[in-house]
Symmetry: C2
């Protein structure tokens, strides 16, 4: 017997059935954010387990950000000082265990360092990464040490995170600290760069470091919007601001992941599962070759109001609505989300039966169940 | 070495330490309600696991109620027809497994059938238990079959639920169906009973059935408030309406469990952990012998807006505040809950680290965490 899965043919010996199925998109992601709130390992493992039920296959681990730096980096051990507490840290062994746990379930881990803008916490251990004590991000573009640290992180990453991509961030860069801090402003002048050119210089130099460690790159869409033609051809542009960017990215020949915040951000509690379901990554992309450059999509569980107490019911069941769009052939997708309601409600009950705290379909994300009723309608 | 625990002395061989500790109250309960919403087995197991962290030792399983009858009763198999669906049922094997799972963790399971008032779902399989098709509860007091069914349930219970107590409910009995249904009204007249006497007759007959199966009895406080001196001396009166009943119960020589809804009902999302902490079961009970009749207390997680998606964060951390009051000697309890804040916040983070979705302390029950902060302050 032959089992078709993820574009591979898998022989299952002696089984009395055949499954012919394959995903529409190869990249079906869920972002978790362990900087705004730390997520304990059992919580991450439960999230990974639950992803398998909806055939999501990439855990985008937004490990560090402005608020905290929970991961151990042996090359620069003081980065870990940026953790909220010593109880809110991941050792290298922890991270490797998560990667292995995910891998056993067919899930790749996409690790992210979001530079230069979202990296304030790096300076807790290494203050020279800040433009100054009073102006703490973006990372100091004028300091060679900045790129040494990025190189060290990516070197350590390459021993843990074996997925072919690394995510380098690049979004929401406010360069005002660069122009107002005298030594950086001086450096800009000396090198004949304006702020915008310095931003490009930073992102491209970080890209080269990632390439040198064997990674292909994911960057948030601002990098494309600002200097797309300069990006490495090994870049996947990660859409988040809204619809429409994917068609420009693939028209330029780069690959794209779709996560537009108005439809696929799970922290937007007022975005309904119907909107998650209806969000089509190939909108306005008709050319077959260009369609193939949209490698998939990702729902994003940003961590501002999420921790171990409420992450599961904020992810589920809405992530499952997006997951169906990412898996199912376009022509077999429901044109009217009402055709999905019963099936998705049943799936959320199955998740509950498996111990996953998926919330009801009705109401906002993570709403309480309606009074006094069965789960299976 | 000797370990003092729950009034027993346990020898731990070759251990290099001594623990001297024992609970203030022997009964430290948590109610779960599987009628208003079905709770899948993995969810119940997780609740039991989490109870051990706060040294709660009785799972009060409010199995059935008006809304659904999820438990298999071999003696009267059609009772199971009152489940929401065939996916929302507990087999005898399921229930036995829960009892065993709890027992291994030092937790007794107190099973409840709440009669005669909260039993509408029984009639789905056996409509003759209803006064009439149009007036469906309380259970028909005039029908011998009613007591046969209760006897059958308690007989089946005695094979599964080995705790010395069974809970027979007895609260919120609206007897109007008895007086408006001709055949019951006729029976009342024939037996010279008014509604109130019929209620007493029902509760006492159910008590005798429980005693015949070797159980001592728990009943909700209305039974005591209405005819306390008639109750079996083996009754424990379960307070729920408000403070003050415990002192009357123990003055009459009966035992009491405290669960007053204004302080210890977890479905009251606006009751803060500080109020849970401050609720003293021995209020106004100064006599030592009477104090001993308060066997403990229980926090109640009623199921109207709770299912597998939100039960953990509605129980925790508030249940832990009550648990400390139930365990710790009175003189060692904090007089000002502010002395508890740091410790309880730390405990909630520990629960998260163990994969229990305990909510933050601030805000209402199951509030989202504040933005961008560590868990351990």
């Amino acid at each position: 017997m032959v089992l078709y899965m993820a574009f591979r043919v898998i022989k299952v010996h002696m089984s009395p059935w055949t499954i012919i199925d394959q995903p529409r998109f190869s990249y079906r992601g869920l972002l978790i954010d362990t900087s705004r709130h730390y997520l304990p390992l059992p919580v991450i493992r439960k999230v990974i387990d639950s992803m398998t039920y909806a055939k999501l296959n990439v855990l985008h681990w937004h490990i560090v950000d402005t608020e905290s730096f929970p991961l151990e980096i042996p090359s620069y051990p003081k980065l870990w000082n940026g953790a909220y507490s010593t109880s809110e840290q991941y050792s290298v062994a922890d991270a490797a265990e998560i990667v292995s746990f995910a891998q056993k379930r067919g899930i790749n881990v996409l690790a992210e360092i979001d530079v230069p803008g979202h990296a304030l916490s790096w300076g807790t251990g290494y203050p020279s990464l800040w433009p100054s004590k009073d102006c703490q991000q973006p990372l100091d573009v004028s300091n060679e040490f900045t790129f040494k640290v990025i190189d060290g992180i990516l070197s350590d990453f390459s021993k843990i995170f074996k997925f072919k991509f690394v995510h380098l961030g690049g979004d929401e860069v406010d360069t005002s600290c660069w122009t107002t801090t005298p030594h950086i402003s001086k450096w800009l002048k000396k090198n004949g760069m304006n702020e915008s050119q310095a931003y490009q210089y930073f992102v491209l130099r970080a890209q080269n470091l990632a390439l040198s460690h064997g990674y292909e790159i994911v960057n948030w869409e601002e990098t494309f919007n600002n200097f797309g033609n300069k990006l490495s051809r090994k870049t996947v542009v990660h859409n988040w601001l809204g619809g429409g960017v994917a068609q420009q990215v693939v028209a330029s020949g780069l690959r794209c992941i779709v996560s537009n915040q108005d439809k696929w951000y799970l922290d937007h509690l007022d975005t309904t599962w119907q909107e998650f379901y209806a969000n089509e990554p190939l909108t306005n992309i008709t050319n077959l070759k260009q369609q193939k450059l949209v490698i998939g999509g990702e729902v994003c569980m940003w961590g501002e109001r999420i921790d171990g107490s409420d992450i599961e019911q904020t992810i589920w069941p809405r992530a499952a609505a997006a997951a169906e769009r990412l898996w199912t052939p376009y022509d077999e997708l429901a044109k009217d989300p009402r055709q999905v309601t019963g099936r998705l409600a049943h799936f959320r009950c199955l998740l509950n039966q498996r111990g996953v705290a998926a919330a009801p379909l009705a109401g906002q994300g993570r709403a309480a169940p309606e009074a006094n009723r069965g789960c299976f309608w």
